[in-house]
Every structure is written in structure tokens, then in C-alpha cells.
């Protein structure tokens, strides 16, 4: 099988702004992509992955270029020309596509490197695709391999534990203050990439709810939907603080939006439950004096940067190790793909049968020492002839020219029958 048939077309947080990504997500009817993509000519196998930060189609096609064009048209719903859409998408083919998928699954391509959510999302996408009968031999193996690579990276490197960024530092601090974040509530004030990141990370840690407050209410509603949270207007900020434990502020306001004197009376109503305030806006949103209040912890962008620096080096080291694992596993997968041709399969069957034949022959002959050389040769010849006769029909069957799809099924079946890929338990 030629690796060039595997392709990935997608957009993510690095290539497209959220306005573009939103358009490709098909939130109203999750069945649409499966219906539309499966009728595209040449699209033999595919899987559709859609998250907050990325939309990707992983597909296998015998006519990749044409298929890709059709898929791109479908994704952008013809709202943009093919060339214009090209500014936002990435397209990987063959080895690069395999590598990309492994990196996505292992969270090396995520906004927060090492965040664990993406693997679950990829698994769900694969499950949906198999339920719609959209995957075949190649994608089944590729995605399962992707899951095991992700697992391997998670256990062999510290990428999951030291996913370092500002938002990670914020979560670390929150854990030092609250211990468990399970029943805590977070509030985003203002929308910005960094604030969204932090909120996402808090979600991953299982905070109970994310409240979004924004100057334009519409934007707040959109963002809240992303976190399954609720939207409030900026005027409600102070009453909301009574319920919230963690607040991340990143408005574009030139003035301070929350003063120490606003919070002081609140603490009594909060029964002194700790309040963790994170100010990542420039200029500052939150009054620096807030940090002097009992049970209030205020961290600015510089404070968080200090925390990040502490283990930045550690993260880089882990990422290098993770990338090495991805490269190694990609190579292994390429080898397997290569074996998915008729000739290597026949060779593998013969080698396997011959190995069995030789082993058995040796066992038998060593038990009967009185045979002459001629007799030994005759027995050897007989076993070889038997082997060839038994393998004759399977090999003829394999060599027979079939349509492309049948051939793949046949190959997969034969390889399974003779157990040529013992590590492939699926």
C-alpha cells in the first residue's frame, strides 16, 4: 500500500482564527460530515475530528488530490475559493500525515501541550466513524496505533505532568490553594486566547462551572458554549464573585475593573472562602492591593511567568523525547504499510510456512538417526512439496486482480489468517 494515499486536511488554532474554525464545526447536526464525506469519490476511509481548537479530516483515497479538493469544498461549504481556504488549512500526506496524527493524539500539537482531553476526543471521533462504517483496514490500524503512541508518550515522558504554560501555572497555583478543583467555579472576564487557554485547562481539571463575563454579551455567550458554562454581563461581575472561586481577567479596559474595596465586603458573604484572582491583562484589570486581603490571592502576568520559568526547561526536554517516540512509531507504521502489498505478503506467508516446515523437519529427523542422506533428502523434498501445494491456492487467490477495495480486504484477511502481524490484536 502506498503511504501517499493517507492524507490529513484540517485547520487548528495555529492556522486559523476562531471565526474560521467555528464555521467548520457543524454543531447543529453532527451527522452531516459523515453523510457528505462518504459520497465523495475516492474517499475510501475517513475519520472526522472536531474540537474547540481543530477540525480535521483524516482520509484514505486512491485519488488523493481530487478527493482533497472535494473535502475542502465541503468543509468551507463553498464560502471561500479553494485557494483562499488554502491560507487557513494544513494538508499532510503519507508519512507526514501519519506523524501529524500521532502528534495530535499525543497532545504535542495542542494549544496546551500535554493536555489529556484531545486523546478522548480523537477516540470519540474514531468511534463515531466506525459506527458510520467510514473506516477500513488502514485507518483502523492507524488510529489504534495513534492511541497506543499517545499512551506510550504519556507513560514514558513527563509531557502530561509538565504541560507548562501560563495557564498551567495558574492551575498549579489553584491546586495549591484549593487542593481539589472539582467543586470550584471559575470565571473568565474578557476574552482572549490566554484566558481561554486557562479556562480550558481548568475544565480539564474538572472545575464545576465556567462563567464568562464580557463587554459584548454575544461574545460571552459564544465562549460560554465552548465550556458548557453560562454567560453574564460585565455589570454582574461583583455579585458573581460571591459564587466564584477562581477569576481570570483579561479585558482591554484601560482602568482597573475590580478594586480592593469591592472585594472586602464580599469576603464576609463568601464566608472567607479563598478567592484566587488572575490578572493577565495589560494594562492591569485588578487592583494590586487585593493581594493584601485575607484569603485573597492575586497573581499578575509577571508572577505567573516566574512560575512558568521554573520548569520550562523540564518541559522542553520531555517534548524532545516525545517527538522521538513519534518519529520511531511513524517509521514502524510505514514499514507495516509497505508490507500491505501483495508481494511482501506472499513472501511473509512463505517464510512463515518454511520456518514451520524446517523446525518440524529437524525435530523429526533428529529422532531417527539411521536414515541415509538420500532418504533425508526425499523427506525434505516431500515436506517442501506439501507446503507448496497447500499454499498454492491462497497465493493464487491473493495474486488475482480485484478492484482496489476488495484487494485491501483480501490482504487484511489473509494476513490475519496466517497471523502475519502478531502485534495487531484488533
Amino acid at each position: 500500500m502506498s503511504a501517499e494515499k493517507i492524507m490529513i486536511l484540517g485547520v487548528n488554532h495555529k492556522t486559523a482564527p476562531v471565526e474560521i474554525r467555528e464555521r467548520l464545526a457543524f454543531p447543529n447536526d453532527p451527522g452531516t460530515p459523515y453523510r457528505e464525506l462518504s459520497v465523495i469519490p475516492g474517499c475510501d476511509e475517513f475519520c472526522f475530528l472536531s474540537t474547540c481548537n481543530r477540525v480535521e479530516v483524516i482520509f484514505v483515497s486512491s485519488i488523493p488530490q481530487e478527493t482533497e479538493r472535494k473535502i475542502r469544498d465541503f468543509l468551507f461549504n463553498k464560502s471561500m475559493s479553494y485557494e483562499e481556504a488554502g491560507k487557513y488549512v494544513y494538508l499532510h500526506q503519507g508519512e507526514a500525515a501519519i506523524q501529524h496524527l500521532f502528534r495530535v493524539g499525543a497532545s504535542l500539537d495542542s494549544m496546551i501541550v500535554g493536555e489529556p482531553q484531545i486523546l478522548g476526543q480523537l477516540k470519540q471521533a474514531y468511534r463515531d466513524a466506525t459506527e458510520q462504517n467510514c473506516t477500513g483496514m488502514i485507518l483502523n490500524r492507524l488510529l489504534h496505533k495513534g492511541f497506543s503512541v499517545a499512551k506510550r508518550i504519556r507513560t514514558e515522558t513527563g509531557i502530561g505532568s509538565s504541560a507548562v504554560s501560563i495557564s498551567y501555572a495558574a492551575v498549579e497555583l489553584a491546586k495549591k490553594i484549593f487542593g481539589n478543583l472539582k467543586n470550584k467555579r471559575a470565571m473568565l472576564v474578557g476574552a482572549g486566547e490566554m484566558a481561554e487557554l486557562a479556562a480550558q485547562h481548568l475544565m480539564n481539571q474538572g472545575v464545576a462551572e465556567v462563567v464568562v463575563a464580557n463587554r459584548t454579551f454575544e461574545r460571552a455567550v459564544n465562549l460560554a458554549r465552548c465550556f458548557n458554562g453560562k454567560a453574564v454581563s460585565l455589570e454582574e461581575l461583583i455579585p458573581q464573585l460571591e459564587q466564584v472561586d477562581i477569576m481570570i481577567s483579561s479585558t482591554g479596559s484601560p482602568d482597573i475593573i475590580l478594586h480592593s474595596s469591592d472585594v472586602k465586603p464580599l469576603m464576609r458573604q463568601r464566608r472567607n472562602r479563598p478567592l484566587f484572582l488572575i490578572d493577565i491583562a495589560v494594562p492591569r484589570d485588578l487592583d494590586p492591593k487585593l493581594n493584601n486581603l485575607d484569603n485573597v490571592y492575586l497573581y499578575g502576568i509577571d508572577d505567573l511567568n516566574n512560575v512558568v520559568d521554573i520548569n520550562k526547561a523540564e518541559r522542553d526536554k520531555e517534548a524532545v523525547r516525545a517527538e522521538r517516540i513519534v518519529t520511531e512509531e511513524t517509521l514502524k507504521f510505514m514499514l507495516w504499510l509497505g508490507s500491505m502489498e501483495v508481494t511482501p505478503t506472499i513472501v511473509a506467508i512463505r517464510e512463515k510456512a518454511d520456518a514451520i516446515r524446517k523446525a518440524e523437519l529437524e525435530k523429526t529427523l533428529s529422532g531417527m538417526g539411521h536414515l541415509s542422506d538420500e532418504e533425508t533428502k526425499a523427506i525434505e523434498k516431500m515436506t517442501a512439496a506439501m507446503m507448496n501445494k497447500i499454499l498454492h491456492h491462497p497465493i493464487v487467490y491473493l495474486k488475482k486482480d480485484d478492484s482496489h477495495k476488495d484487494k485491501k480486504v483480501k490482504l487484511a484477511f489473509i494476513r490475519k489468517l496466517f497471523n502475519l502481524d502478531p502485534d495487531n490484536s484488533e
Binding site: L173, K175, K176, I177, F178, G179, N180, R268, R270, R271, N272, R273, P274, N291, D294, N295, Y297, Y299, D303, N306, V307, I310
Partner: protein, 272 residues
Amino acid sequence: MGYLLFQVTLFAYILSTGVYMVYFWSQRKDIRTVARIILIAGGLLHTAYIIVRYFEAGHTPLTNHHEAVSFFAWSMTWGYLSFHWRYNVRNFGTFVSPLITILMLIATFSSREITPLPPALKSAWLPVHASIAIMANGFLALAFCGGIMYLLQERELKKKRFGLFYTRLPSLEALDNLNNHCLAVGFPLLTLGIITGSIWAKQTWGAYWQWDPKETWSLITWFLYAALLHQRFTVGWRGRRAAIMTIVGFSAAMFTLWGVTYLLGGVHSYVG
């Protein structure tokens, strides 16, 4: 026999403290396990010592300073281990074990002589009142350790300078809960200690309360802790303020134990 057991116990506590210090520095789990095993061994030896002492003295061994302080250390050890069994607070042992060792050293340097029981103490209330009162001190001491840990962690979080304690100590919430748990056991014991003492006083001296300095100071201690718990339940006092109150309360408890005896005298003076 008794003295040998005491010495071995002391040695176990010192060793355990040392290993806990090493663990605090290195954060290696296997070292912590060693420290814990040594501490448990110390606690068992200590229990054996108290039993042996009971038979050697012929009465509850809670009548002189040595015995009282040793029992104090024993309460702390088992109080700590019992909390440990219920829930885990990182590096708590590093703060508790030195205090246990200090108490044991104080016990070492006080007279171990067994004197005949004064007639006033010949009562079934002796083991009840004295053990409850000292066990209350044990739990208050654990709360004190938790309070110190809270203040250290809080300081690093507020000042944003992350040193030795930030990574090693548990979260503020966990420390605050620890404080609460210790007081939830220590305060009822303290109350019970005062009540049993008062009943015993009625039987022996004919009055429930006679404003002896020890009684006065234990009442002051009781009020300090009662105020803290009251504030916690009504307006949600917690965190730094609760930690400071715990430390103040414990200082009062320690003054009741030692300060009163050496500075103020009174009818309780034979204990201590």
C-alpha cells in the same frame, strides 16, 4: 526494664525525626515509608513502656512531670498515626516528629523516680481526667503543627516567592481541613478534661471550681479555642486567622501545662 524501654523509644523517635527530615529534603517515597515504620515502632515501644511503668509504679503513670510529658508525646504519636490512617497530609510527619522528640527529651531530663501516690490522687478519676486532658494537648499540638505549615505555605503563596515549602507542603485547603479535624477531636477532649477535673475536684475538695491557677488557665485556653470554633462556624473564619488562633491557643495550653506549675503554683502543682 522500664527505663530501657524508654530509652529505646526515645531513640526510635529521634531516628524517625531524622529520617523524616531526609524525606522532606529528598521527597523520596521509600524514605517516607522508612520514617513511618520507625515512628510506628516508636509508638508501640512507647505503649509498652507506659504499661510496664504502670506495673512498676502500681498506679496510673500520670502523676509526675516525666510521666505526663511522656504521655503527651505518646498521644501526639498515636493521634498523628490515626489521622494518617484516615487521610494523608504531605510532609505532616516532618513537622510532628520533631515536636514528639522534644517532648521526649524534656521527659528524659525530668525525674523518673516513682513516688508513692499522694492521698488526694487516690481516685478512679486520676486515669480518666489526666489521660483525657493530656490527650487533648496531643491533638491541640497536631493542630499547632498544621497551623505552622499553613502559615509557611500561605506566606510563599502571598509573597510569590516559591522556596522550600511551596512544592512540599499540601494545599492551603488541605491544611485548613487538617486544622479543623485536629480541633474537632482536641476541643471536645479539652472540654471533657475540664469537666472530669471539676467532678473530681468536687469529690476531693468539695467544690467544683476553686479558681486554682491551673483551672483558670485551662478555662482561658478553652475560651480561646471555643472562640475560634465559634467564628469558624458562624462567619467562616479560616486560613491564616484560624492558623494564628490555633498557635495562640496552643501557647495557652502549654502555659497551662508548664507555666502555671513553675510560675504560679497551686493545688495542681504535683503534676508537673
